[in-house]
Amino acid sequence: MAVTKPKLMVVGNGMVGHHFIEQLCSQGLNKHFDVHVFGEEPRPAYDRVQLSKYFETNSADALMLTSAQDYADWGITLHLNTQIIAIDTKTKTLTSAQGEVYEYQRLVLSTGSFPFVPPIKGNDRAQCLVYRTIEDLEAIQASAKNSKIGVVVGGGLLGLEAANAMQQLGVKTHVVEFAPQLMPVQLNDKAGQLLCSKIEQLGVSVHTSKATTAIIDGETALHRMTFSDESYLETDMIVFSAGIRPQDALARGANIAIGERGGIVINDYCLTSALDVYAIGECALWEQMIFGLVAPGYQMARVAASHIASSVFSTTAASFKGADMSTKLKLLGVDVAAIGASRGFDNAQFVELSDNQAGIYKKLWLDESGKFLKGAVLIGDNNDYSRLLDTYLSQDEIQGSAVALLLTGAESETDLKDSSIVCSCHQVTKGDIVNAVKTGNHKMADIKSCTRAASGCGGCAPLVQKIIDHTLQAEGLDFNSGICAHFDHNRQGLYHICQVEDIHDFETLISQHGKPSADGHLYGCDICKPAAASIFASLKNHYVLDQDKGHVQLQDTNDAYLGNLQKDGSYSVVPRVAGGEITPKKLIAMGEIAQEYDLYTKITGGQRIDMFGAKLSQLPEIWRKLIDAGFETGHAYGKSLRTVKSCVGSTWCRYGVQDSVGLAIDLENRYKGLRSPHKIKFAVSGCTRECAEAQSKDIGVIASDKGWNLYVAGNGGMRPRHGDLFATDLSTAELYKYIDRILMFYIKTADKLQRTSTWMESLEGGLPYLQSIVIDDALAINAELEKQMDHIVGTYQCEWQTSLERPAFLARFNEFVNPDAAPATEFNTYKRIREQRFPALNQQEANKTGAGTIAIKDVTDEKQNVSEEVVV
């Protein structure tokens, strides 16, 4: 007779409920119990901490912590869309909304919390929403589509997250807070003020000391919010984020003890007043406290799992001893951190640093003796967080002056002790990470899966990466990040070497820093040579085909001949047409040249004209004519700025609010010729209708009525990506400054052939990190980045102009060194279709399968046979 396993029921499948399941499985308890999990939502556990990421990808996938398959693999029954409506603690049963009854031997409540909606008249009107689930986000997104203005009620941590989400959706965002400052729970007044001014700079309006009295019909918008001071604000949508309340209704109905102000009362083992019933996470009340952060919830999950394990394996159960509520995060791109008693306390000593210029505020609270750190608040610069948290948690006596703690500069992983907690979500210490690296886990992804570090809120990811790198280095381990067999460095490393050591030739680079072959060859390969050429050009901007410096032999296919090689060995020619604006005179000149050389012409996606079919030896004469007609090279052959696409803009368009064409031309002229890890495309739209499709470009600019909104790291192509809104309402001068810095930082840090979109995705810390560097100068490199860009701009050259000025150089464009010896029968075959010239397929091409063999269709005249002509 089969032995029935005891039943363990878990109500709630949020982050904490899921963490509990992971703890069960890691101890093998899923084999000892028949485990059932009930979730009200349609999907299994996802990351609520980073909820606004949903808008970046418009998909819940990036947020998912698990899948139904994981649960099936663990042998756990997952009931989604299933609300439990009653518990009977006497019969030990649960009842679902569908009327099913489930027995339990053990029950874990991880029902979480619900958003508190203040009891204001009109709070149930249309487009009045909350921010907690993916369904809430979908509702916010839908409302944002027909909203110009939005209000977030609540200036706490979650409220500012919601404001971030709302602003990303392009809604003019206001934050209304009842207290006289933002984040009143964590920050003192000065910190609150600085945060407020920083957030206002980002375009969010903040209204503090405002008590909303009612929401009524608006005159210029859907709603009007009236305040107790008789002022009002009109808005199209409202998101309430005024705190959370424990979801304790189910326990309350079962007569389980509840705190006076809500919350399921638990003891140190997370047990409630009912036999064999546990509560964990935001629904639980421990010593009169609700813990609204994920890290304490995870600790409770571990304690409950350990208590259950103790009954099965006769081990000692861990107990919950309270949790540190310190937190570090980026709110709307602004660094904010609070540690311990972050708002101070009576008789506390303190050290305070307020740097208005840099927008940084830090305050440390010490005990009466001034020897022990009791709390800290950081705004605008989180770099000291891990070290300060460590000092606070260890309660080590502060050596020397406490002010030194504020002035030691960026934290380094070497400052941390092995016992220091690096990931507070999963309680992972530096020692855990170091050991994992030493046992063969060298990549971030490996570390995440084996230690779980950086897989909670993700805030510690940059520090974890530093620890990985440092450990690998200390162990002398080869983590092989080299770009090819000739170098152990990645592109960023090579760039750094070339910059610091002022290297601008390949032979020096490979002989001093590379790995010559066994025979001592220093040739490098088709991976490292073009990468080096690009780095030299980004740093020095010398002529790319310079023979004396040995640059010519490093260039890839297209750069090597300043043209775009086509499948038949001919080249295409693309002059610059900045911003897509061209005079009729130049258009005619281009047409005449194309006609003379019988070049196939096509308008490109970047608003210029591509002329195909030029023989190598024709390139210099074609370019001579183009330059005489006032054209310059379009750098279509380079990994460099291609075009700045533009819409018509305010000069002609009835709707345009700014001169998009003028800006596009200026931008193109500033950044033309800039060699970078990959090609760069820009676009400028003159109003929010976005006709230039700027959000699909590496750099996108959209006019607002106050200035320019800057988007970065968009992409079309194979993996389309919407650009991230980087900053809003910029003046033209600010716009240039930011673009200078962003592009130079990209050039400095990207991998070989990495577009800005993938670069952004791989950048630890992502958009907020980039913003902190470019806007707040967190790395103090902006002056250097701008100087470099000025150098590039100041040394611009049209490479075809330079080439034509050196007759000796033009030998390179002779197809043959002895053209007189050419056989009389040399010819290329072309087809003429739609009155233009196309390469005819040769035998090899014709034998290949795939799209290349599809016949080119003449759409102008179906009856006319495709005529083949022989061009000698």
């Binding site: 060859h521 490098g524 088709d526 010519v552 043959f816 060194v817 040769n842 035998q843 090899q844």
Partner: protein
């Protein structure tokens, strides 16, 4: 078979290739300085296009080769064999210099 004078040594810049006509055939010539001169068929066997002289010179696992500018296959400069597909061969030509003049041995 005869040696054909195609050009002077000064017409061969170091570290790059040039194409030359040798008895009606296009030949790619590469000047590798102290490692000498190499000559292989200029026609890329993978595409049928005459352009190997325009490729990038590489050292792959000790072998000197040229990367085709079109689809980046590597051809050994000594044997002409494609590293990615040994069926593809850009056949090699004998090459020598005499008194500053470059000679390639014509085939057929």
């Amino acid at each position: 078979m005869s040696w054909v004078n195609v050009c002077d040594e000064t017409s061969l810049p170091q570290g790059t290739g040039v194409a030359a006509w040798v008895a009606g055939k296009a030949v790619a010539i590469f000047n590798l300085g102290k490692n000498g001169l190499f000559a292989i068929d200029n026609v890329d066997p993978a595409s049928g296009v005459s352009l190997l002289a325009r490729g990038l010179i590489c050292e792959i696992a000790g072998q000197l080769c040229v990367a085709s500018p079109l689809y980046k296959q590597h051809y050994c400069l000594k044997t002409g064999v494609c590293l990615e597909d040994s069926q593809l061969i850009a056949s090699p030509f004998a090459i020598k210099t005499e008194q500053g003049r470059v000679f390639v041995l014509a085939k057929g």
